[in-house]
């Protein structure tokens, strides 16, 4: 089991950041590498079990199932069903925690997955920096003051 953990401080109140994060169909609105997204089967984006089907700007297609969404804990978990990355049992959680000092937000994004041993380092780099940190950095800039 491989684990990836990335975190950043977003310069905005947690409730405000959560409005953006909570939309499981909203990646194109803030993740710079996502081109378009739809929810399969005409489900609602906050319906647990719904599947988002999105294309990356490099052409890749990913399908992910919403496993958990909490407006109380400000967290969202999902599993990869299909992706160009050779990963199995991939489950990720994106969660927000208020920082009372300055009214900021700690955003944490972590994933666990299985993969071929020789691919592990490259995948950790790709997921940790290429995906999670890139998206969190975009969030920081979006709310930057």
């Amino acid at each position: 089991m491989t684990k990836v953990y990335v975190s950043s401080v977003i310069p905005a109140p947690a409730a405000e950041v959560w409005k953006l994060i909570r939309n499981f169909n909203g990646l194109p609105g803030w993740a710079p590498f996502v081109a378009e997204s739809r929810i399969e089967q005409n489900a609602q984006a906050d319906q647990i079990g719904c599947i988002r089907n999105f294309t990356l700007k490099d052409g890749g297609r990913i399908r992910e199932r919403l496993l958990a969404l909490s407006d109380y804990d400000l967290s969202c978990s999902y599993a990869i069903l299909e992706s160009p990355m050779a990963v199995e049992n991939y489950i990720a959680t994106l969660s927000l925690t208020p920082v009372t000092d300055g009214n900021l937000t700690l955003a944490e994004w972590q994933a666990e997955f299985d993969c071929a041993p020789d691919r592990e380092a490259a995948l950790m780099q790709q997921i940790g920096s290429g995906v999670f940190q890139t998206a969190l950095t975009a969030l920081k800039q979006r709310f930057g003051r």
Binding site: S8, V9, P98, V99, T100, L106
Partner: protein
């Protein structure tokens, strides 16, 4: 019930912040409201269930109990047991998370409690601002001060480590290179823990104060007390700090107010403050011992603390007389070997215990009358058999938990148990009423109380050196470790892999 939650971002790596916060007894070193804190009953600071008893600057006293501690989640929970304020049912926890992109730390401090309704707002404000937010600021300031110190040290060490640069930038360096001793290599304990916390570092070494001398160490003694300092059992060392209380060396410089010592004198010491695990150090000369030509640096560094201890244990704590029967535990250890030889010389019958057959042979050669391998037989039974059911007059026990009960059982009527260490753990609680069954005496001597003035110390030093000269005690050559490998020395000492003394030698 009210809940309070405060959080902040600290501009330091999470492990650095955790090292400060996980010390349940360390809050008096950073929180501005706290004057003094101690752990009750000598429990380790990281033992879940331990109770800290602390006093605020306004005089109020509180007791809090550690409920949970996790190095995995970097979380610590505690509750209030007693307080001068009605914070009823107060349970708090603090946790840290790394901020990975900028190597900073998220710190959350939360609690819940049930205040009386009319004092609710006042108490919430006190907890929020007076405790949590003030704590955030204090830790931030502590880290800032510490990092400023580290930077200064790093700069100084760079100046020493790279003399080649002098040719390249002649005008920039003379100020720094004027004093080539501005740093020294030392073993630094950044936080309490295992042998792995003993790390070699360059640290600042200012010129000696007017009442200090600077010593260049040639050989450094390793003692079990250093393990207690490293682990935090004794607070003689406050991290970050340099352990070690015994060494021999040469005086390099003396402050203007020092008389009686000057550069070039050969000296040794066995006393606080800690700081001996270093190439050089400054210290007050009050308890320095001058070495005569027939006492080598190695013998002094390996033996002074043990020799002085053996002297007061056998002469002051209990005056051993001819005909006494003496039980000595860990007899193959550094101090054990001295006790065996010296007690025999004083005319006592010596019964020694050791953990292995190899060590038994060592102790027999030293002159013990009887040797018990306590891993293969019950030593208290053996003592009673050897003494015809009488028991011993005095038992010297620095093993602690594993032997304390057996030592009591080995004593004769009016016997004396001298408990001077606890290598295997604390001895626990005992009902002293039971000691009446044999009119027993228990002593728990503290090295400092027998040696903390020149007047107390010098007779023991003189007696120890005289015993060495006369061959009453023979000091075996100690096992040598490079100063950089101090962690190996501690591992070997704690694993009981050693016989005789251990020393550290500063590298060239």
């Amino acid at each position: 019930m009210v809940k309070v939650c405060q959080s902040t971002i600290i501009d330091a790596p999470v492990d650095e912040v955790w090292a400060i916060l996980r010390d349940f007894n360390g809050h008096d070193r950073w929180h501005p409201a706290i004057a003094f804190s101690e752990i009750e009953g000598g429990d380790p600071v990281d033992a879940v269930g331990s109770v800290r008893h602390f006093r605020l600057n306004d005089g109020g006293e509180l007791r809090e109990q550690l409920l949970a501690l996790s190095d995995k989640d970097r979380r610590l929970s505690y509750c209030l047991l007693e307080a001068p304020l009605p914070l009823m049912g107060y349970v708090a926890s603090l946790r840290l998370k790394p901020v990975t992109d900028v190597d900073a730390t998220f710190w959350e401090w939360r609690s819940e409690f049930s205040p009386p309704a009319h004092r609710r707002d006042e108490l919430v404000k006190l907890v929020t601002e007076g405790i949590y937010r003030a704590g955030f600021t204090a830790v931030r300031n502590l880290l800032r001060r510490r990092n400023a110190g580290l930077l200064a040290r790093a700069e100084a060490s760079r100046a020493v480590a790279a003399p080649v640069l002098r040719a390249d930038v002649p005008q920039a360096l003379p100020v720094r290179s004027q004093n080539p001793s501005a740093t020294t290599r030392a073993i630094v304990v950044e936080r309490y823990g295992g042998p792995e916390e003993l790390r070699l570092r360059d640290i600042a070494l200012p010129p000696p104060a007017p009442d200090e001398v600077r010593i260049r160490h040639t050989v450094i003694g390793v003692n079990f007390i250093d393990v207690y300092c490293r682990s935090g059992f004794f607070d003689l060392l406050r991290p970050p700090g340099v352990p070690g209380m015994e060494a021999a060396g040469v005086i390099e410089a003396a402050g203007s107010a020092v008389s009686g010592f000057s550069a070039g004198d050969r000296v040794a010491y066995a006393c606080p403050p800690v700081g001996a695990y270093s190439e050089r150090r400054n210290m007050a000369p009050d308890l320095l011992v001058r070495l005569s030509d027939d006492i080598s640096d190695e013998i002094a560094a390996a033996g002074l603390l043990k020799g002085v201890s053996a002297s007061f244990l056998l002469h002051d704590v209990h005056a051993v007389k001819p005909g006494d029967i003496v039980l000595i535990h860990a007899a193959a250890g550094g101090i054990g070997q001295l006790l065996v030889q010296w007690a025999r010389h004083l005319g006592a019958t010596v019964i020694a215990t050791v953990s292995s057959d190899d060590k038994a042979r060592v102790v027999e050669r030293l002159g013990a009358h009887h040797v018990i391998v306590y891993s293969s037989e019950n030593f208290a039974d053996a003592v009673m058999r050897l003494t015809g059911g009488r028991g011993v007059d005095v038992a010297y026990d620095a093993v602690g938990n594993d032997t304390f009960a057996g030592s009591l059982a080995s004593l004769a009527v009016r016997g004396h148990l001298v408990s001077f260490g606890q290598a295997s753990g604390p001895v626990g609680d005992w009902d002293i009423g039971r000691f009446a069954s044999k009119s027993l005496t228990i002593s728990r001597p503290n090295y400092a109380h027998y040696t903390d003035t020149p007047e107390k110390l010098s007779p023991h030093v003189a007696r120890f050196f005289q015993a060495l000269r006369e061959g009453v005690i023979k000091a075996e050559a100690p096992t040598r470790y490079d100063l950089a490998n101090a962690a190996d020395a501690h591992r070997d000492l704690e694993a009981r892999r050693t016989t005789g003394a251990l020393v550290l030698v500063p590298g060239s």
